[in-house]
Symmetry: C2
Amino acid sequence: MGPLEGLKVLDLSRVIAGPYCSMLLGDLGADIVKVERPDGEGTRNIEPTVGKDSLFFMAFNRNKRSMTLNFRNKSGQETLRKLVGKADVLLENFRPGTMEKMGCSWEVLHEINPRLIMARISGYGHEGPKSDRIAIDPVIQAASGLMSMTGPKEGPPTMMGVTVVDHATAMYATVAITAALQARHSSGKGQMVRVNLMDSALSLLQASIPEYQLFGKKPAKIGAADRFGAPVNSYETKDGKKIQIAAGGAMHFPRFLDAIKMPHLISDPRFMEGSNRLKNAEALDSEIAPWMRARSAEDILEIMVAASVPCDIVAEITDVVSDPHLKERGQIIEVDHPDVGQFKMQGFFAKFSETEMALRYGVPSVGQHTNEVLSEWLGHDAESISRLREEGAL
Amino acid sequence: MGPLEGLKVLDLSRVIAGPYCSMLLGDLGADIVKVERPDGEGTRNIEPTVGKDSLFFMAFNRNKRSMTLNFRNKSGQETLRKLVGKADVLLENFRPGTMEKMGCSWEVLHEINPRLIMARISGYGHEGPKSDRIAIDPVIQAASGLMSMTGPKEGPPTMMGVTVVDHATAMYATVAITAALQARHSSGKGQMVRVNLMDSALSLLQASIPEYQLFGKKPAKIGAADRFGAPVNSYETKDGKKIQIAAGGAMHFPRFLDAIKMPHLISDPRFMEGSNRLKNAEALDSEIAPWMRARSAEDILEIMVAASVPCDIVAEITDVVSDPHLKERGQIIEVDHPDVGQFKMQGFFAKFSETEMALRYGVPSVGQHTNEVLSEWLGHDAESISRLREEGAL
């Protein structure tokens, strides 16, 4: 049984930020009903596909049931409002104004179901001069300053290699929903919660805003190094790999010097305080690099682990899928898909001592559970479902 | 009133993943008591500092009170267990085994307070062959494969410019805690919840694991482009800026071509399907780049906004702090600090219709609230607090 067992979530969202939020809620045991337009969510078609579905879709849609609903059809919209009457949470990431056009504003839904939590995800927020604009992750990585902090030291602004802003937004939406659930236990009432990509990106800027305000300093791009400590970098090893060492901390640095048998560097004035090490990071790297190049990655790792210095090999996906540590911990799981059979993906983000995160559903095909959900949630029989189909509602 | 009003959190954590979690809970209205060793959390000293504190510390510690406790002192440990008796949540990110050495294992704490939620953050997880290893964000970006996906297309693996793994871990810890709160409403009992940096990083890999399994394909580094669509890139503008366009989607691409008046490209076989555009992204970029170079960033932005194509200027921190949109939405706030006075930082991650995220405390100095908390939570008077000080417990 998951910690969110019994929670009913109506998920109208598409792409990543919304679907990843509902996948997290589903992984936690909530009953997720993904509501798709009759031809299915558009991201099901993004190449590469396997069978009828995209890898993209498969990555963000386990642990959900799928039903279809024609959002532009009057009786589709009416069915949606009936489902809202039974839901704890409604999640959407349409462009601001779309829910209102569908006759599903917060005021209407709150009236139908005062306990409903309505979670809304937008690009730039629902108010302010940019609120009407479409936004997707790469544009917000650019607009938030995150891109200006990522990439080689002297190179151009670079995208983080994954949609970090979408993921962060999904997690914040999940936190907002669960916090609103907690508030509902005392007030008895639901509420509207809103997150957006821009605010989520902003939250990742660490100390950049106060650093600029107080020191007039713009955050540099850091390559494979760290913003607050040195030595932190990737070093080439004898066997052609790269190893990442993070020994900038006041506790780690002396241990590291002992491990590489260069204790004299501790009294080198260039490296005597964290701030000096950071300033002279290149000089420090050139002292360290030959030691690394003379040893295999595995040998270095063993030495660093013994010395309690944070260190690991720079992994490719091949290393990750075969990592014995992840295997032993069950962090790569098999998920069902109607066309593909089973496929491998990441496991769950937490372990609970008294409840469990588990796979209850695989990735659904479009509308796989339409009849089941209409019957369970609304008590519809075969005849009334047929009527809805005839009316073009499903 | 915040959605988590009334929730008592005892926060023993240090650095980022733990403190950012408790900052989120504090922003949501929980009462956060940050428990520091008598000389204060080590990260208070990371350069650059302002007054007695680091920027680093200031970025992750608003909305908390601070008390000191000597974790190695018997009566310090006993005081900790008494505080646990009054807490809803205990958060820690010590190395696995440390809480046990302090006489504060899950079994002991659960016995003291059956409603307690104990949230534990580790590097590689509490079990498995790597569980004993120290890990910090840059090492996990390397070990998880995230680094291998980030950076210039032909360049070396690159760090994401901020500690994304720490942030994700903090958010997952927050979700786990609020989910356990929800479970507590039905069971009446707390539980132990555990997250770690490695699993959190793994969760960000998008479709890389199934893509490798099903297609044998390793994820490429993407520079300023996108993994699933083209055209997505940064383009140089006439006025020496860079603009990020994301027009890879089936809906966005035709609108984009109309906007740049190159509708003929829609029937160019190189660009006719998403997969072709991705394959021929460089050719597509070379068609587009001259159009961008002939116009100012503001002019391009205006055209793209009118055409509903996702687009924004690649911002530096200077642009972010002066962004009228963020100003109007109150997303840059002033936070109090005992030495610095007020400083600017990011606002809150969500807006709630019936409760609010707000600043109730600034960033505390070391032990600023020790007496207050001991009196409020445990009913200690001046005399018994003095005794604890004499015993070296505080």
